[in-house]
């Protein structure tokens, strides 16, 4: 679990559980622009502008992120988004279903379709076909919502690997 008393406003550092002046953070800070830009990419998806929220609700984004991180067993990343989902009003059942990647996501709701798309993109991205986007449209997704969903899945796929890679510098924490 992430320590609550760490000193950072950077989400990647917070997920790893390190202060801004820790050795791993200092290594990252050798490329300060990139650190800032990754944080802004996160914010564009998880603290989005109003028009983007209208396309894809923030709580659904958190649950999709939980799903993506659960596929790789990225516990700390999944925990981060599960907490945000709970704070945003997601039920324990909804969060539990997002975590249960061995169970196919069911339901004709937009969230069900979003979780199934997350399964596809996370585990078999090269199997995606044009028809998969049609399925999302049938579930009510606009082009903007489809792109926000795809970006959310793609961002977390990057973030969880950045976290895992940084953690491998371990020992220096």
């Amino acid at each position: 679990m992430t320590a609550i008393n760490i000193q950072t406003t950077d989400v990647v550092n917070a997920i790893i559980g390190i202060d801004d002046d820790s050795p791993i953070a200092q290594l990252r800070n050798q490329k300060p622009d990139l650190v800032r830009e990754v944080q802004e990419y996160y914010q564009s998806l998880f603290e989005p502008v109003a028009s983007s929220v209208a396309a894809l609700p923030v709580v659904d984004r958190y649950l999709v992120a939980v799903r993506v991180a659960s596929h790789t067993g990225s516990t700390a990343v999944a925990e981060w988004y599960a907490r945000l989902a709970a704070d945003a009003g997601a039920s324990p059942d909804a969060i539990g279903q997002a975590r249960e990647v061995d169970e196919r996501a069911t339901g004709a709701t937009p969230l069900g379709a979003a979780l199934r798309h997350a399964d596809l993109l996370t585990t078999r991205p090269s199997d995606a076909r044009k028809e998969d986007l049609q399925d999302l449209k049938k579930a009510g997704f606009s082009p903007a919502a489809i792109v926000s969903l795809s970006q959310t899945i793609a961002f977390v796929s990057y973030q969880l690997r950045l976290v895992a890679g940084l953690r491998a510098f371990g020992g220096q924490q």
Partner: protein, 197 residues
């Protein structure tokens, strides 16, 4: 079944056909349309950008990360990180991403034959020590990131890579988990249209 462009790894230039409306094809307001049109430009990847521009803020934010990852001079662009990118893209099956970065790798490394064989045979092909270490790290990050431990970084350390160079390889390979998924699922590659000689 015909083997299509999307199944054949190549060093050739490819183009990309979107599966989704471009932002300018939707009913966005005029001000947003101007912003999007200006941002898209007319480069070879204009359709890809135009699809991502459906979420303009996320596209803008991602572009900075992407550009930084691409053009960073600290450390300088290296064949090593390109090989990490190709490793992720080869495993994920992103023919388009492989084509772009295999060319960059070939230019930087002057090892066109090696990368051609890598594209054909995949990550288990026979490789010299530096290339092997990069591909192994990139493959683990791609397929089982949570299994990474400090020991996975040792082969590169022994070969003389410092922490920043290792992070550069890791970060670059990690970013292709992102790029591959967008490229693979919002459209598909096609062979470049022949232009009149």
């Amino acid at each position: 079944m015909t083997i299509g462009t999307r199944d054949t790894f190549t060093l050739d230039f490819l183009e990309w056909t979107p599966w989704l409306e471009r932002a300018v094809d939707t009913d966005i307001d005029p001000e947003q349309r101007d912003r999007v049109t200006t941002a898209i430009g007319d480069g070879s990847n204009a359709d890809y950008i135009a699809v991502l521009a459906n979420d303009f803020e996320a596209w803008q934010a991602r572009t900075l990360v992407h550009r930084h990852v691409y053009t960073s001079e600290e450390p300088e662009p290296t064949a090593w990180r390109e090989l990490g990118a190709i490793t992720a893209s080869r495993i994920n099956g992103c023919v388009f991403c492989v084509s772009v970065h295999a060319r960059i790798y070939a230019n930087l490394s002057k090892k066109r034959d090696l990368v051609q064989r890598f594209l054909e045979d995949g990550v288990d092909t026979n490789l010299p020590p530096n290339e092997r270490a990069i591909v192994d790290l990139g493959a683990t990050l791609t397929t089982d990131p949570e299994s990474l431990t400090p020991e996975d970084l040792e082969p590169l350390r022994i070969l003389g890579f410092d922490d920043l160079a290792i992070l550069d390889v890791l970060n670059y390979a990690a970013f292709f988990a992102n790029a591959n998924r967008l490229m693979l699922t919002l459209g598909e590659p096609r062979l470049q249209r022949k232009t009149a000689a």
